[in-house]
Symmetry: C2
Subunit: 747 residues, 2 copies
């Protein structure tokens, strides 16, 4: 020892750069010295490794649009509605790819849940008819979409409303616009709704709500259709629509799940295993209490234009070349349908069926117990080329490129990456929700972030991203490194900022990132139930070019490979851009030494929310002797704690610190969103626990629970409702203070 020290000191004299470069020297030495149990720790260099920009470049160039196209072709050969034979085929595709010895993941497997689904009866198709007083059928609504030979698979499911009860209501028809509470209220002022059938158009209210809102007025059945105004920029003719354009053909019908809750309906908060307790069917809430059925606009046209009664307001008018009347109730006297009823014969049935998630993993090298999760659902309504197979094709290309790097020994992420191909999303985000229920604790303790790419490409104009504010920056960083499709000289970021932007006090003009409210795709359970920092991205429309509510073939049998490759993304360059952007984000979250999660950007959103809340509520709350000061103090605490942590990260030489210091900081960043969970904050809303992003009906860009409680109190003016506002203010302030406590110095 003495000898060596001496030698070393001598070295310093003869080799002056030794001291300066000691760190580096040391790392190299490890490679030089043969391994032995007493050799220097072999992990010192791994533990400080940061994201490798050259690897990102390699990744970006390896992502191949043609591979994505091939993936889509393979995934969309047959309809693959949840739990059908076609679904099982996609399970096998995923497993085969992810278990491939050359391009697969470390491990892949399936996980099954026995879930409560609703189907039409192929032997007794649902029927909608116009029936005369003498019981003559005057008109029968088309049972199936008009399909070309290559799309006309026998497995194409009849258009239906999943979870609509079976039943045979018959009554006079009325037009109820979008089926919102205000729509039925207005309609009911003119028409006695008892015993009627309401026809509604998609949009404005949740699917199930169109029936739930109707029932209290005595409505006994509901039809729903897609108005060409809302989906086709007004176009109605066969020659203007698919296969001649991307617009929905007259016989097209949007299918859908008619439930307002996510996860398996019979096993709330429990993973739906075979022997799991199931609540009685009659205790299920949030599904239609009366039969409801979707129909095409060619039929809706025939019904609506024959309606009698007063003309509906301008806002209720659609694209049909007639006046949309309320209904007498029923048809006008001059109509061939005069005095006739509309009859629904709904034969839907519910069944427990096995639905599979396919899971795949790349094990982390340094922190295997930290997970970045990337997922998309696998099930479609019919062929599902866009929804969801565009996303699945992108995911398969990501796993091919990353899997290949791993198999070739060229790369292994610092943290583990988990891929999820979720089942039964279309019925209510079921596969992803059951997964979060089954692995709640483990996921909650270890998950850095969840990335969701469901519909990868709605259209070719621009990136669209939603996410927690803390990850906007990693999305920006990634988007700056990817060329915009068709605009090789421009980045996805530079293109995006032209379509959507806002001015941030900290960053100036930046692209607009949406917030994670609601439950539109599989991120819901991750965001709301687990409080995991999440991102959802896709390529989307130029809103100046279309008013379509969504791409027109959505949930129809026309959402096919042919449609996708001809009208949505010819050449698959937008798919490629999404794969590159999402993959870049994924790699950064998995490989960065310090997690690319920024708490000061979260503070900015809290301040926005606070400002809105103060503007909207403070005056009235003061009158009720409810102080907003604790909330203001909490937001200020959060801001200063975030600034402090940012400074620690900026000013510490983390690569030379004890690795537990970086781990501790990363734990602070990883767990930030968990601090905003309160399992009792929204007890009447299944699965919602995140006090910032919960769904809200008040429609204000502020704290959702506060907005809802305030709206409710203002409407009732009951003391007990104002108490609830005060209570939620305390819940919210405590959560935000609690989050701030996690960001300050750890002791």
């Amino acid at each position: 020892m003495v000898k060596f020290n001496y030698v070393f000191l001598r070295l310093q004299k003869t080799v002056p750069e030794v001291r300066v470069k000691f760190n580096y020297v040391f790392l190299r030495l490890q490679k030089t010295v043969p391994e032995s149990s007493n050799s220097a720790p072999s992990w010192v260099q791994d533990v400080v490794k940061d994201v490798d920009e050259s690897f990102i470049k390699t990744f970006l160039s390896a992502v191949d649009n043609i591979q994505i196209e091939k993936n889509l072709w393979e995934l969309t050969k047959v309809p693959h509605m949840a739990t059908t034979r076609g679904d099982e085929q996609t399970v096998q595709i995923m497993l085969k790819r992810w278990q491939d010895p050359e391009t697969g993941l470390d491990q892949a497997w399936r996980e099954e849940y026995m879930v409560y689904l609703s189907f039409p009866d192929p032997k007794n198709p649902n029927k909608v008819t116009v029936v005369s007083p003498s019981d003559t059928v005057l008109h029968t609504v088309r049972e199936k979409e008009k399909l070309s030979a290559d799309q006309n698979d026998t497995e194409v499911v009849q258009p239906y409303a999943a979870y609509s009860p079976a039943g045979h209501p018959k009554g006079k028809l009325v037009y109820a616009n979008q089926g919102k509470p205000s729509d039925y209220k207005l309609l009911n002022q003119t028409v006695d709704l008892r015993g009627t059938i309401a026809i509604t158009r998609y949009g404005g209210a949740g699917r199930a709500d169109k029936a739930i809102n109707a029932a209290p007025y005595g409505v006994i059945g509901v039809l729903v259709y897609t108005d060409p105004l809302d989906i086709n920029d007004g176009r109605m003719s066969e020659t203007d629509t698919y296969p001649h354009s991307w617009y929905m053909p007259p016989s097209g019908v949007e299918r859908g799940s008619f439930t307002s809750q996510f996860g398996d309906l019979r096993t709330p908060y429990l993973a739906a295993k075979e022997e799991t307790y199931r609540i009685p069917v009659e205790n299920i809430t949030g599904i239609p209490p009366i039969p409801i059925q979707p129909i095409g606009f060619e039929d809706a046209y025939k019904l609506i234009c024959e309606l009698g009664g007063e003309a509906a307001p301008a806002a209720w008018q659609g694209a049909f070349n007639c006046t949309y009347n309320f209904g007498g109730p029923g048809f006008k006297q001059t109509s061939v349908f005069n005095n006739s009823d509309v009859k629904l014969d709904i034969f839907n049935y519910e069944k427990l069926k096995n639905s599979s998630n396919v899971m795949g993993v790349i094990r982390g090298s340094v922190e295997p117990d930290r997970y970045v999760i990337y997922g998309n659902h696998r099930d479609s309504w019919v062929y599902g080329a866009i929804d969801p197979s565009s996303g699945t094709s992108v995911m398969l290309e990501l796993t091919r490129v990353l899997g290949m790097m791993v198999k070739q020994g060229k790369w292994r992420p610092r943290r583990s990456i988990i891929f999820g191909s979720w089942g039964a999303e279309e019925f209510g985000l079921i596969g992803s929700t059951e997964y979060t229920e089954q692995y709640y604790t483990k996921l909650s303790e270890r998950t850095v972030a969840y990335i969701n790419v469901d519909i990868a490409v709605f259209a070719n104009a621009t990136l669209r991203a939603s996410g927690m504010p803390s990850v906007q920056n990693v999305i920006f960083t990634a988007a700056k490194q990817v060329s915009a499709p068709g605009l090789d000289s421009k980045s996805v970021y530079d293109n995006w900022i032209q379509y959507s932007n806002r001015t941030s006090p900290a960053h100036g003009i930046i692209p607009g990132v949406g917030s994670m409210t609601g439950a539109g795709s599989d991120y819901a359970a991750f965001v709301h139930y687990l409080g995991i920092t999440s991102i959802d991205i896709s390529y989307t429309y130029d809103r100046s070019k279309t008013n379509a509510r969504i791409y027109p073939a959505y949930h129809t049998a026309y959402d096919s490979f042919d449609y996708a490759s001809k009208f949505i993304d010819p050449g698959f360059f937008s798919h490629q851009a999404v794969a590159r952007t999402a993959g870049n984000i994924l790699i950064r979250l998995a490989d960065s030494l310090v997690l690319p999660i920024n708490c000061s950007d979260y503070a900015e959103s809290l301040e926005d929310y606070l400002k809105t809340a103060v503007d909207l509520y403070q005056h009235q709350l003061q009158a009720k002797h409810i102080s907003m000061e604790p909330l203001k103090r909490a937001v200020a605490s959060f801001r200063s704690a975030a600034a402090h942590l940012d400074q620690v990260i900026r000013t510490t030489d983390l690569a030379n610190e004890i690795p537990l210091k970086v781990r501790g900081i990363n734990d602070q960043l990883m767990l930030l969103d968990r601090a905003f969970l309160d399992p009792l904050a929204f007890q009447d809303k299944y699965g919602y626990r995140h006090v910032l992003w919960a769904s809200s009906s008040a429609g204000k860009p502020t704290f959702p629970g506060l907005a809802d409680a305030y709206a409710n109190a203002q409407s009732s003016d009951q003391a007990s409702d104002w108490d609830k506002v005060h209570d939620h203010l305390s819940v919210l302030s405590q959560a935000i203070e609690g989050a701030a406590h996690t960001l300050v110095d750890v002791i």
Copy 2:
């Protein structure tokens, strides 16, 4: 670089031990080389450091019984009921000690909560009288205990039942044994309870329950006393009791909080800050609906022995030399009290008052973001020499010794240690509960364990410990290193195992460790609400020598320094043994490289619970088509996951592994109990979320929620109640499976 490598390789030739001892050489080099930002990592030796046995020895020998005695003397000079002047004096003592430059902690501060407390009115003392039909007062119950001059401080609070409503009920007296539901039920079969005053004895039911159980029968007021049978081994005379022995004098009265819930009653789940939302007083549950007042047994004797009516059953008889009758209702005809009523005049009032926790911290050196918390309440009912100042004296001695080591630079724990001196425990564990509510997320993410030492010494016979099964071993390790008081040749462990033991399949005969059910002290919120691995220890009785329900001066004004030093622990050697044992546990939890938390010992408890559950419930559940297989599988999964993690710990050379590997394992161990939390499992029980240790009324040594649900279903035989059993079985199985998922390989 090339040059250096070459030099280094040459070194290997000239200094052959370099390769073998490289690790060591490297560490020494760090000290030799002057520090610079480019020097080798200085943390490599710290990060693998394990608990230092020689430091433990130093610690044990430094713990001084005389210091503990002095602490107790100082803490008990005046009564220090929560929020009184005396309480503030103890706050100042704690702050002074913990901020001492030579023996203090790194930091100490106070945290205040504005909490809902209940007090008697000093200007209108509560009265209990016997009143004749002509309104003559025939007997007045003693308002104060008979105290010697040195104990007769003006601040001694009148005996009362905190949270009893004020009121002036008057009625015929009945004797209701312990006030259990079954007691009132039996009594009501013989006596019409409407309009009566019930006298009950302490024990058998919670304090508040004696009134809550009574009210439905029409009882309008309740008295409660301590029967000499239950506390004094039958002794009743002044000459047999304190100051002549440890027994309760005839005028002694046990005060107490009459609430069955923990935490501030008006701010459930919210820290009670000034502007926090408070539920309306009328919404508080779990407190007496009718007035209740505790009295001494000298008065109880006069009342009970005069009662008429039938003789109560043998099990209801106490130590008085008369037959305990039910009451006619009222007194017997031969009594001077014949036809008289008992009248309660209760003037208690409730008030929001500021209560302080005093917090102190020793910052961890390697993992400051991991906390071991050690706590005890500070507030007493009167002088509180045993409850709680015996524990506070022990805590102050621990902090003196550890603080001194830190200040002298001789020691700094690997993990941070937080000390809590909780306020307002006697009113319902308020200070500790508010603390867990305020810092929920931070504590939940970072706390390794909570150690509670409330009453440090009940008596001198043996250690008593409760804790999660996973920490039994660290308690054993610590107890083996401490000499039993008065038995220097025998360890605390060897003495303990003679008083209480069980046979473990894995370990053979070991001391019996109690489970963390219920809410007897400040561990409640840590165990039940936060799911933090907890330990509660003290020195206690030889049960063959006394049947006293608890030490006889409990919650009386006699619980003084004089009492403690003469009758509980002369010489303070039991205090010293507790300080040494608890301190040893604390140091091991703070300093061990791998946390001394054993998950296989948890598996053993789960298996015990399962066996009991199967024995008791399986037959009947099968008849109801409810399968216990998922629960069996879950327990088996947990057992095998625990065995696996144990093996990983045993077979990995952790000191030479990447530090994140040890951190990951420690996270698994630290968070184990968190996996057993379900915030919705016990929605009607405030603060109970741990599915294994929640309070249960079924009284079976098995899963508490299952036992309660089963008992309820068996009693009602309603299908919906059997559904609840099935539901809870699923909740439980999922929690245990979830815990198992966290113990297997991390990916």
